[in-house]
């Protein structure tokens, strides 16, 4: 494994241009001052949490995710290359979804095996033959990207069901601007605060034909770990935050229950999983959903974002085919790399994986949150052997990838400023009118030294992500 790319320092110890001002500031600021600011940040998060409906104990467990006060910095040129690749990928995923739920040309062409779609749990038969507004499925995509070199970005995972994290992107920026106005004066950081507005426009663009579409955010409720984000987005878009029980179906339309009487709803930004949307069409035990919702959706009288059934495109078993999708649907070469992936279901791949467990990362096909995975290089022999048994028993549940050296970014830890591994989750908005992307992302950082796991459930933190405008005054 080659050494991780340090985003601030070159191998010879010199500072990369994009970090020069930040590095100077870090050097000139005593650790005690940074520590005071860090505490202030914590306090601010708590207070913000309170203004954002979290209200007391319980609800703010999410907010306890540690925040690192050192921003992670990208140049505009880097961002442009990255965003071109993201847009390309998101378009290809959308084309794939349309195809999967219509003629399945890609299967006929032999580029993706039929069984990996037809027998995929995430393939929603109910969506077959249905044209969602604008032919769009993944209106909101959160693509996990890691950097391994100066100009080398890999996509680790496509999240196009109900991706979360964008509220951290926005809040981390808000806190940074309050804490370090002097840094913003010295840097030309591209603004990201228009994200809620862009999201609203995207949602409006897929509305059924009405004069002024009514948009709502549908949440599972206050007990959900992402409830904070749901209420944050609803508030910043200026739309109602609803639960399933606030909505009902009547004569082919969806209505919201208000004291004034039923109010028609046109677009639902739903933050609940497919299975729970409509107990008459999907999981009959769902109490979160709206009976009959799916019929209204199929009739075209309400739009859902994201569409039902997007999971078939971001499934780990489908991931290896994304580059092929880009070639097949767009006739282009992928701009962002896919991590080589071994599908343990295939005998040849499985043999390789079992022989190289100490080098590979092995993940569950349906897993998430960094659970149930093996990181070969950092695991003990016992852990590897235990995993070998699991893998041998149910190989179809696993995929494996080479361990990537995630890039590092300077991070304020107990010992002072030190490099820690980071990933990046930018959000792409695909509307019927255009693609929208704000120059920023949700950066997760593995706070433990040497750790490659950035998931918040496994000791990860967050950072503000800066994209610096080109014409920066020196």
């Amino acid at each position: 494994m080659k050494p991780a790319f340090n985003e601030m320092l070159n191998p010879d110890g010199s500072v990369r241009a994009v970090y020069s001002d930040l590095e100077a500031w870090l050097k000139s600021t005593p650790p005690e001052v940074l520590d005071v600011r860090r505490r202030e940040a914590d306090l601010m998060f708590r207070r913000l949490g309170i203004t954002f409906a979290v209200y007391g104990e319980g609800g703010d467990t999410e907010r306890l995710i540690p925040f690192d006060i050192v921003p992670r910095v990208l140049t505009m040129a880097e961002w442009r290359r990255l965003s071109d690749g993201l847009i390309q990928r998101v378009r290809a995923l959308n084309a794939f979804l349309f195809d999967v739920y219509h003629a399945q040309e890609i299967v006929r062409a032999g580029r993706v095996p039929e069984s990996s779609i037809l027998l995929n749990e995430q393939f929603r038969l109910e969506m077959h033959g249905f044209d969602p507004p604008g032919g769009l499925y993944n209106h909101v995509s959160g693509i996990d990207v890691v950097r391994v070199g100066e100009d080398e970005f890999y996509v680790l995972e496509d999240n196009i069901r109900v991706p979360s994290g964008v509220s951290y992107m926005l809040e981390d920026r808000e806190i940074m601007m309050r804490l370090f106005p002097e840094l913003f004066a010295a840097h030309r950081v591209a603004p990201i605060d228009r994200y809620p507005e862009e999201l609203l426009r995207t949602l409006q663009s897929i509305a059924p034909a009405v004069d002024v579409p009514t948009v709502v955010v549908l949440t599972p409720g206050a007990f959900n770990s992402a409830y904070f984000e749901h209420s944050f987005l609803a508030e910043h878009m200026g739309v109602e935050l609803v639960e399933g029980r606030d909505l009902f179906v009547s004569e082919g339309y969806v209505y919201m229950r208000t004291p004034e009487g039923p109010k028609r709803v046109d677009v639902i930004y739903r933050r609940i999983d497919d299975d729970f949307l409509d107990p008459l069409a999907f999981n009959p035990d769902s109490v979160l959903g709206i009976p009959g919702l799916f019929s209204v959706y199929r009739m075209g009288n309400v739009s859902l974002a994201n569409a039902v059934g997007t999971g078939v495109a971001d499934d780990k078993s489908i991931y290896p085919y994304v580059p092929e999708m880009i070639r097949f649907y767009l006739g282009e070469e992928p701009l962002l790399k896919n991590v080589p992936t071994y599908t343990c279901r295939n005998e040849e791949d499985r043999k390789y994986v079992l022989d190289h467990l100490d080098e590979l990362v092995v993940k569950e096909v349906h897993g998430s949150g960094g659970y149930g995975m093996l990181i070969g290089p950092t695991s003990t022999a016992d852990q590897i052997e235990a995993f070998r048994d699991r893998l041998t028993a149910r190989p179809e549940l696993f995929i494996a990838q080479p361990t990537l050296a995630l890039s590092t970014s300077p991070t304020f830890v107990e010992q002072g400023i030190a490099p820690r591994h980071v990933d990046l989750r930018p959000f792409v908005l695909l509307g019927a009118d255009c693609v929208r992307l704000v120059p920023g992302a949700f950066t997760r950082v593995a706070l433990r030294e040497g750790s490659l796991v950035v998931n918040s459930s496994q000791g990860g933190g967050t950072k503000d992500t800066w994209v610096l405008e080109d014409d920066r005054p020196c």
């Binding site: 039929e114 082919g252 009739m299």
Partner: protein, 281 residues
């Protein structure tokens, strides 16, 4: 065979119900072997309809006002032709492999798996003969009895019980087929029964299995036969949940009383032919 279907359902509630929603799959489609005319689904509640991914016509019943009763009335006529249990070839929404998907209703436990494996060799040698054998074996093992199982009973549960209704029979058959790698699906419909024979409900369900070179073949475990011209095919899906005639949910209402009357009657061909002609004018 020509027959007329009259199917009335009345739900009455012990207390005032506040909201009701139902998906009704009660409208048969035309196939080469079944001609449908004068078909209507009516209710005291407004209905809208759409076609689901399997091509089934779904009426959606919603009532967002206080109510104590819901009525659904189906009337219609059909002419059917005996095709020896083979569904005439027509455009299908999905390739057969889709019908290998496991569902909640058709998951197999160890007992059902063992039972199925006994048939693997025979089915491997002669698919159609093997499946008829499987159908007979299920019929033998699981007797037709009302009241032991309920609408949420799975194939494995009914198999353990050793008794069930046509829904359970169909689920067990489908589960076994999928376990053997044979695509299979659930069909709901109407069955004309000889007026002297009161054993069976005219509301019926059976299974279809895909046999290469032949196509979709029907298997009615409850009656241990393939569908004849006494069968009217209405809706199909992976299991009951995708083909159920009535599937509903409500708020309030207390105890529900459901009164169902189904009449499937053969009628005078000549007289109805005139009616048919008039319908078409």
């Amino acid at each position: 065979m020509q027959f007329r279907v009259e199917h009335d359902t009345v739900y009455s509630y012990g207390e005032t119900a506040l909201y009701s929603a139902q998906y009704l799959r009660l409208t048969p489609r035309h196939h080469d072997h079944q001609d449908v005319w004068g078909w209507s689904v009516k209710s005291n509640v407004p209905l809208v309809s759409f076609a689901d991914a399997f091509g089934n016509v779904v009426h959606v019943l919603t009532l967002a006002a206080r109510h104590r009763e819901i009525r659904v009335n189906v009337r219609g006529n059909a002419t059917t032709r005996d095709t020896h249990g083979i569904l005439p070839v027509e455009p299908e929404p999905f390739p057969p492999a889709v019908y290998l998907r496991a569902t909640g209703y058709t998951e197999v436990d160890e007992a059902l798996k063992d039972f199925t494996e006994d048939h693997r060799a025979v089915v491997g040698r002669n698919t159609i003969g093997g499946l008829h054998g499987l159908m007979a074996a299920i019929g033998e093992r699981v007797s037709y009895e009302i009241g032991v199982t309920h609408v949420r009973t799975t194939a494995s549960q009914a198999f353990v019980e050793g008794s069930g209704v046509c829904q359970d029979h169909a689920h067990i058959f489908i589960a076994c087929c999928r376990q053997l790698g044979i695509p299979a699906r659930y069909v709901s419909g109407y069955l004309w029964v000889n007026p002297d024979d009161n054993d069976y409900d005219a509301n019926h369900a059976w299974a279809e299995a895909f046999v290469p070179d032949l196509g979709w073949i029907s298997f009615d475990v409850a009656n241990r036969m393939s569908a004849t011209d006494a069968y009217l095919r209405v809706a199909m899906g992976l299991d009951y949940s995708g083909a159920a005639p009535l599937l509903g949910i409500r708020r309030g209402g207390g105890d529900e009383k459901m009164d169902v009357r189904v009449r499937v009657s053969q009628f005078d061909t000549r007289r109805e032919a005139r009616v048919h002609a008039r319908d078409q004018q």
